[in-house]
Symmetry: C2
């Protein structure tokens, strides 16, 4: 098991994990787009830009030359209603199902945390589907707490 920064060559594998994330959310709620409604090239180009971005860090876990998980963190301008000027945001975090519960996510997260600290970030935010109990439990273990809740009404 190797934990390392993502390179351009990893993008094709990352996109496969993105697909699994999209499919998972579509299973929770049909409100989310199905993967076939995404533009593959757009996703690929998006990650290509992110890999080059100094304010973004993509860390992957590699096993037998296969990317089996990754986390992506970005530094953003904080919303105007809060005190800090900048905030860290974890946009993606995914470990392939059969590789879960082995502490791989924790290892990737630790690396990402070091990077945020080096960048002098004091607060990290992330958004999960409110019905994704597994995800919420995992983030709580890492020290995250419930900050803001988006509610929805379907007419």
């Amino acid at each position: 098991m190797l934990i390392r920064d993502a390179t351009k060559r990893d993008i094709q594998f990352i996109v496969k994990l993105v697909r699994q994330m999209v499919d998972y959310h579509q299973m929770i709620d049909k409100y989310y787009k199905v993967y076939s409604n995404y533009d593959y090239r757009e996703i690929r180009d998006h990650y290509e830009l992110l890999i080059k971005d100094r304010n973004t860090k993509i860390i992957i876990a590699e096993e037998n030359k296969k990317v089996i998980g990754y986390f992506m963190g970005t530094i953003e301008k904080a919303p105007q209603y809060v005190n800090p000027k900048r905030t860290g945001v974890i946009f993606d975090a995914f470990i392939e199902k059969k590789y879960r519960k082995q502490g791989i996510g924790k290892k990737i997260f630790k690396e990402l945390l070091e990077w945020f600290k080096k960048k002098k970030i004091k607060h990290i935010e992330l958004t999960v589907d409110a019905r994704n109990k597994i995800g919420i439990r995992a983030w709580k273990k890492f020290g995250f707490f419930d900050f803001r809740l988006k509610m929805r009404l379907d007419l």
Copy 2:
């Protein structure tokens, strides 16, 4: 008790309610900005623009010529990861403390809902602080459910 659309003359009163909302959040969490760090003119100008905007509706409750509560709804481009093209968003909702539990919020909400329906909106979203139990309970009564949870870690 009068429920009606906000006009430019109401803005000075709305800003007072905004202040109460800001103070409430600052009490929950020091992460939120204190009101004194807001620019009063900026807030006023912001609401002046919103009142003129065809895709925004501000509905107020008036008692003895005083604005004692208001809701603000806007129509936005939906995020790219969901199916609908447009979504309704309730950005502000506030009733002065001593006027609560009298169904005033419900009356305003009903008006706003009619407006969203006229605009062919099928989904309404809003965000509350995850620790604002009173707010969450009220929105659940109106039929809203937990959709997305933003979590935070302070380093």
